[in-house]
């Protein structure tokens, strides 16, 4: 016997089959972005591309466990999806229109090989970039950009997107439909980009991935499980971008940043879903493998000598991850990194974070000097007031500290944040 069958003792056959189906499903899902991107370019129609992917995925679920996984799963899905749509267009008598623009290979012996050559990396990367860029079209509000990316690129169901972004499912559906229509009109005009355009698209898409990650990462309340999934999806998108643009240090930095931040997720939530501050986290719960990968990516990026906002933020996250305890954190390095970040991104939030690091190295008095000028710009920012309050308390200005905490309480803190702030006020004493 040339091939030994998978052993199936003790009714394990069913379990093996189920595990195999899951493995196939995961392998298919991992190709989705590339397949939809290639087909969207081919048919110049995102809806059609999504349908074609669904068709192809259904066939793959049936075929792959029987026949073994194809050499190039993405190429297989693109070919089968394309053929399924061509069949459908034929039936709808819309084929003549399609064939005019796309010469069809009817009798290719090995269509998979043919297609594998056709979807070489250089073509595919612009397809993927085009699809992602379509999702972050500047006329779309940020939540709509994220919703569209989750729907089209990641294949999230609408109700899950709605829960993730905390928007009602019915409204979410309408918003996605509208966003898709608006974005598709633009996408169809997007040709293969020139070098400069490609860089601009990459910037816009990187920003979207970063915002998606923050949507999951920031303490906005809502379903914890879904928010973790948003972070994981952002990491996948960053991986996809890096796979397509492997020489871009900022894309390495973006992936490193997401991995390093997300490495702490098990340690940063308490049982009620409240956020545990970095200083109080159980560091043994940090994900060592994610930290290792993030660190390597950052090292590789920095070797290229072209730092940017993602690399610097990743370096800040890595400095935290390097510390065995909060007390051993290299705050001087972090203050310097925030200084470097401020030079590229002079926002009051960056200045505030730098001041927090300065408080640790030079004391709260110096830090207060740095943050007082930010008061006007950050008056509606809860973290500004709570940070300022703790600095004021540290230098003995208790009355002002209490007023600042009160101001923070007036800015809609989550339940956990409220409890945290009220605890601080209680500790101020009279």
């Amino acid at each position: 016997m040339a091939e030994a069958a998978i052993p199936s003792q003790d009714g394990a056959a069913e379990e093996t089959a189920r595990a195999l189906d899951h493995a196939t499903g995961a392998l298919i899902a991992a190709q989705r972005a590339k397949v939809v991107a290639a087909l969207a370019r081919h048919f110049r129609d995102v809806d059609l591309a999504e349908e074609a992917y669904q068709d192809a995925a259904l066939r793959a679920v049936k075929n792959w466990p029987q026949q073994g996984n194809p050499r190039d799963p993405a190429a297989w899905l693109i070919m089968v999806g394309r053929n399924a749509i061509i069949d459908r267009l034929r039936k709808q008598k819309r084929f003549a229109e399609y064939a005019r623009d796309n010469p069809v290979e009817e009798n290719a012996d090995d269509q998979e090989t043919l297609l594998a050559e056709e979807i070489d990396l250089s073509g595919l990367r612009d397809d993927v970039l085009r699809l992602m860029f379509m999702c972050c079209h500047e006329e779309l509000a940020v939540p709509d950009q994220l919703a569209l990316a989750l729907k089209v690129i990641a294949g999230f169901p609408v109700d899950k997107i709605a829960r993730g972004l905390m928007i009602k499912p019915k409204a979410m559906e309408q918003r996605i439909t509208r966003a898709k229509k608006k974005a598709a009109a633009v996408a169809n005009r997007l040709d293969t980009p020139m070098l400069q355009e490609r860089a601009q698209r990459l910037d816009a898409v990187s920003t979207m991935v970063y915002l998606l990650f923050n949507e999951g990462y920031s303490a906005g309340g809502g379903d914890l499980h879904i928010r973790t999934e948003l972070c994981e999806e952002a990491i996948r998108l960053a991986r996809l971008l890096l796979e397509m643009f492997p020489a871009q240090p900022e894309v390495m930095g973006l992936l490193a940043l997401c991995l390093l931040q997300h490495s702490r997720w098990r340690a940063r939530m308490d049982e009620d879903g409240g956020l545990i501050p970095l200083a109080d986290q159980d560091r043994s719960k940090w994900d060592a493998e994610a930290i290792a990968e993030g660190r390597v990516l950052l090292e590789k990026a920095l070797m290229r000598g072209r730092p940017g906002i993602y690399q610097i933020q990743a370096a800040i996250a890595a400095t935290h991850c390097n510390a065995a305890s909060d007390a051993s954190t290299d705050w001087r390095e972090i203050a310097n990194l925030y200084g470097a970040l401020y030079a590229l991104q002079p926002t009051p939030i960056v200045a505030l974070n730098r001041a927090v690091a300065v408080a640790k190295t030079e004391g709260e008095k110096s830090a207060l000097d740095l943050i007082e000028p930010l008061a006007a710009q950050l008056d509606n920012y809860l973290y500004f007031h709570s940070t300022r309050a703790s600095m004021l308390a540290a230098v003995g200005r208790k009355g002002e500290a209490r007023a600042a905490y009160d101001r923070a309480l007036g800015l809609e803190p989550t339940t956990a944040e409220r409890a945290h702030i009220e605890g601080k006020i209680a500790r101020l004493g009279k």
């Binding site: 030994a4 998978i6 052993p7 379990e15 093996t16 595990a19 195999l20 899951h22 493995a23 196939t24 499903g25 995961a26 392998l27 899902a29 991992a30 190709q31 590339k34 466990p65 996984n69 050499r71 190039d72 799963p73 993405a74 190429a75 990396l121 994981e232 996948r236 991986r239 890096l242 796979e243 492997p246 020489a247 390495m252 992936l255 493998e289 290792a292 990968e293 390597v296 990516l297 590789k300």
Partner: protein, 124 residues
């Protein structure tokens, strides 16, 4: 005699399994490591980080050139490996069959020599 079980698969697939399947997957690895460990037949086990972190060193002309990559593709790549002590290759194959299937392929290769700090297999 030591054998290497080289695990090939597509990156990013395990990551997309439902939690229950992830646990079932990890249990198979855990069970094999426990079994081999108890019998004193387990050599080093290695899981590689994805190729996003890979670099390549190659001599080109007179200089040694360091480049990024090789990069992840949609195709299979080396994800990790086991080293196991076994009397025959059939025995090594039996061990490989206990690992999760359907993610790619498992290549079984005899080990010619191995050393280092983790485990000394050189007199296997």
């Amino acid at each position: 005699m030591y054998y290497a079980i080289l695990i090939y698969g597509v990156e990013g697939v395990f990551d997309r399994l439902p939690d229950s399947e992830k646990q079932a997957f990890m249990k198979k690895h855990g069970d094999l490591q426990t079994e081999l460990g108890e019998n004193g037949k387990l050599g080093p086990v290695i899981r590689l980080i994805g190729r996003s972190g890979a670099m390549t060193v190659r001599k080109q002309g007179e200089s040694i050139v360091v480049t990024d990559g090789p990069f992840a593709e949609t195709k299979e790549s080396l994800l990790g490996l086991y080293t196991v002590e076994a009397d025959t290759i059939e025995e090594a194959i039996e061990h490989a069959k206990k690992l999760p299937q359907g993610f790619g392929s498992l290549e079984i290769r005899p080990v010619g020599w191995a050393g280092g700090n983790a485990v000394d297999m050189s007199d296997g």
